[in-house]
């Protein structure tokens, strides 16, 4: 098992803020919009350096998506920012008509996705946004795994022409990816090569998958870990290549099992390479208030749950 270490913990939303600060210098066409959550989205640095390129929309997310569409069709690259809950379900129709169907180059950059939003509870813990955005034609869906990857993704999507849903989170997490990484949209990242099982993880669950890989190694199981930071378009080639070798898969995401990364991977496998799959995610329920780590444990989104899923899927492979 390849060793991953970290010297600090940071939140992925700060990676977004750092990416925006760089774009402020490098991309004069990039604008930021926010619906009254500037501090939460870590936009202070961008706004300080580029006050004229920031639009404060207030608590009016539908309007923010429409304004972004108008800016984008005029040639700008707007980043519409808010919490994931308010940047997906609340504005689904605005994204559908004014952004995706209209082909406007809007980046919907959303924080506080999933259970790890924590204490605010289920009203704010969106666990269906990947499903919604995956279903939408023309939409690219990205869920990076740590500070460095989020920063790199934020910068990379500026040069990609087309609507993007960029999803990240609130809590501090280990920073374990390369600070100088080149982020390639739609290209899986091989975290660890292995032979016995393929673990496909996205977002905060990638670190849990690494921890799971170490626990499995102690049990003599050689896990391949692949980070699918881009959920759409999905790197089908990487998935098929890995499962051809390992013969089974576990998916892990901070999202509902219905419609998320797991479903996407299953679609690829069932069409091309039917194989046993176990899925780690939230099973058809809302979240609740609590500390992020407590919630991840309670809802079965931690390394232990991944280990259990791996053992189950390896047993199924033997049948």
């Amino acid at each position: 098992m390849k060793k991953y270490t970290f010297t600090e913990k940071k939140d992925t939303r700060s990676g977004f803020g750092a990416g925006m600060a760089e774009l402020g210098k490098s991309h004069p066409n990039v604008l930021a919009l926010c619906a009254d959550l500037v501090a939460s989205l870590k936009l202070d640095a961008f706004i300080k350096e580029n006050p004229e390129r920031f639009v404060q929309v207030g608590i009016a997310e539908a309007n923010m998506i429409g304004i972004s569409a108008g800016l984008a069709l005029s040639g700008y690259v707007p980043y519409a920012t808010t919490f994931a809950n308010f940047g997906s379900g609340r504005v689904y129709d605005q994204i559908r008509q004014s952004v995706a169907y209209s082909g406007t180059n809007v980046k919907i950059a959303v924080s506080h996705a999933g259970l790890t939003l924590g204490e605010d509870g289920a009203t704010h813990q969106i666990l269906e946004d990947i499903a919604m955005m995956r279903a939408m034609p023309e939409m690219t869906v990205i869920n990076p795994c740590d500070y460095n990857q989020t920063k790199a993704a934020t910068i990379a999507v500026a040069d990609f022409v087309g609507p993007v849903y960029l999803r990240f989170g609130r809590p501090v997490m280990p920073v374990f990816t390369d600070p100088d990484q080149k982020f390639e949209i739609g290209k899986a990242w091989m975290v660890n090569e292995g032979a016995d099982v393929s673990i496909f993880a996205t977002g905060h669950l990638v670190w849990e998958a690494i921890l799971a890989g170490e626990m499995l190694e102690a049990d003599g199981i050689d896990a391949e870990i692949i980070n699918l930071h881009t959920i759409k378009p999905l790197d089908e080639e990487a998935i098929l290549k890995s499962v051809t070798k390992t013969g089974c898969a576990v998916t892990a995401e901070e999202h509902q099992l219905n419609g998320g990364l797991g479903d996407a991977v299953c679609q690829v496998l069932s069409r091309n390479l039917p194989s046993p799959v176990e899925m780690v995610g939230v099973n058809n329920s809302f979240g609740e208030s609590g500390e992020p780590a407590q919630l991840m444990q309670k809802y079965g989104l931690d390394a232990k749950s991944i280990v259990a899923a791996v053992k189950k899927v390896i047993d199924r492979k033997k049948v």
């Binding site: 004229e52 390129r53 639009v55 929309v57 207030g58 009016a60 539908a62 309007n63 923010m64 998506i65 429409g66 304004i67 972004s68 569409a69 108008g70 800016l71 984008a72 069709l73 005029s74 040639g75 700008y76 707007p78 129709d93 605005q94 559908r96 008509q97 004014s98 169907y101 209209s102 082909g103 406007t104």
Partner: protein, 288 residues
């Protein structure tokens, strides 16, 4: 274009509207007929657009519309009037109007960019979104220091959408004073009069309370009054506030049996009804 030219164009556009909706046996003739005078006036007299011609003779269309006045149709269901005006202005072949709402057409039921129809900048149809998009375009023009207008047409029934009021509140705060909104105040929506369905009450009072300047257009089916209202709106613009033209129209204007009722909001005439309608609408510039 002089007033006689505008009258001829508007009459022909009305024929195009009725014929499109008849041909596909679907669409929204009522509001289309009511807004013909305004949209013709905008495109043929009021808006500065890119007049460059492509090799095929049609107008060059650039979506970003730099140094052009822009028009957004938020109430996208009145697509027949939009398509007719765009075709007759020179964006695409007039004959293409015969494909309205039919399979493999660029003239979708509601305006779309997806099939790359020249003249359309954003999809509309799901109501309430156009004013927000127009705000974005107006901000873009200000960032580029372009001195152009951004027009947006909305329905009065559409004023019942919540997103409208997000944008109505935002535009004055952002001082988008080159933004001119037009509300087709015909008092009708699909299920009945706006008063019966969900009373908008006094839109003038409401917009003024939100910080807009207003222009009242008493007869939006009189081309001279339309021109005067647009002149007034332009004069009021550039002074820190967005401007809204409250345009009173008659839904179905020009076809007697379509007027004074909400029943032709989204209904197509049959063959006999088409004949009756066309008798009332002179063919001034040649049918497609």
């Amino acid at each position: 274009m002089d007033i006689q030219g505008l009258k001829e164009m508007t009459a022909q556009v009305r024929r195009d509207i009725v014929r499109q909706v008849h041909s596909s046996q679907s669409g929204h003739p009522g509001g289309s007929l009511g807004c013909a005078d305004m949209i013709v006036s905008l495109y043929f007299n009021e808006m500065t657009i890119n007049e460059n011609r492509q090799q095929d003779g049609f107008l060059e269309f650039k979506r970003e519309g730099q140094n052009e006045d822009l028009f957004f149709l938020s109430n996208g269901h009145i697509s027949p009037v939009f398509y007719s005006v765009l075709a007759r202005r020179g964006y695409f072949p007039i004959s293409e109007l015969s494909t309205f709402r039919k399979i493999n057409s660029r003239l979708q039921g509601h305006p779309a960019t997806h099939e790359h129809l020249p003249g359309i900048r954003v999809a509309s149809g799901s109501l309430g979104q156009g004013l927000s998009v127009a705000c974005g375009a107006a901000i873009a023009k200000r960032l580029r220091k372009e001195d152009n207008f951004v027009f947006v047409m909305m329905g009065d029934g559409e004023q019942q959408e919540g997103q409208i009021w997000e944008a109505v509140q935002f535009a004055p705060n952002a001082k988008l004073d080159k933004l001119i909104a037009i509300i087709d105040w015909n008092g009708m929506q699909i299920d009945g009069t706006t008063k019966e369905v969900n009373n908008n009450r006094d839109l003038k009072v409401k917009y003024e309370a939100f910080g807009w300047d207003t222009v009242t257009l008493k007869n939006g089916n009189d081309l001279e009054e339309v021109g005067a209202a647009l002149k007034e709106a332009k004069e009021k613009s550039g002074k820190g506030k967005p401007v809204v033209i409250l345009m009173q129209t008659e839904m179905g204007y020009g076809v007697d049996y379509m007027m004074g009722t909400h029943k032709w909001h989204g209904a197509a005439p049959n063959d006999d009804q088409l004949t009756t309608a066309l008798k009332q609408l002179p063919e001034t510039l040649g049918d497609y």
